[in-house]
Symmetry: C2
Subunit: 141 residues, 2 copies
């Protein structure tokens, strides 16, 4: 039996936050932007439009919850969302908090410079805050 | 009474294709990538997560229809979707067909080089083909 496994590159670049009903939520370990990723726990999923209508609606709901939490957490100017997958094919949805003075504003975050990891205390702090915000609704574990 | 008006920059950069129940569908007039945009006809909308659950689900459904049509039209390697809005704040969702040999692959399309307009016959051909594909389901006008 096939079971869901997180892509090795996503595993290396991100930190576990929690899970919703469908998606695993992870923080991109890049302190340049507050940046979360949702990964639907579906074996072989690559494109949103190939999923069932119910799965698509669930992704939309969970993405919206993450976006709302990130906006509240950061009070950012704009949320950017995207599903690209040109490098890592496993379906994952980016949710990023953007501000006028952040790196590469108003351009996209993808492909810009090199990832800069959080320091340990900073990482623990942001993970804790995001877990607290995301766990306030139903379906979080 | 306020009524929906398309942002002037989106008007200048894109070409009308048709409308679904919620969104206007437009082709980015940039022949470097087959690139469609959905604009929900909602006054003042900027962030998906601020919309009602019904509106969010409708956007997901219409985005999926556009992605499926674009994939069928192009037989591309990967669909990229995104809602950024860092420059044009009016909510709009990008759906782009990507291939390994296209400009800036595997990087994003946003912010890369300058837009290159279609020639007239080429534009008429792609608009016609996309209209035909998108109109095959319900709710298209």
């Amino acid at each position: 039996m096939n079971s869901f496994q997180l892509d090795v590159r996503l595993t290396a670049d991100t930190v576990f936050i929690g899970t919703f009903s469908l998606c695993e939520i992870r923080l991109m370990n890049d302190c340049r932007w507050p940046w979360l990723i949702l990964v639907p726990r579906l074996v072989g999923a690559e494109e949103i439009h190939d999923l069932s209508p119910v799965e698509q609606a669930q992704i939309a709901t969970e993405t919206s919850r993450v976006a709302t939490a990130l906006k509240t957490h950061t009070n950012c100017s704009k949320i950017n969302t995207g599903a690209l997958g040109n490098i890592v094919r496993q379906l994952h949805i980016h949710v990023i908090a953007r501000d006028e003075n952040d790196p590469n504003w108003p351009g996209p975050v993808w492909g810009y410079g090199d990832r800069e990891e959080y320091g340990e205390p900073e990482l623990a702090e942001i993970v804790g805050r995001l877990q607290k915000m995301l766990s306030s609704g139903s379906g979080y574990s």
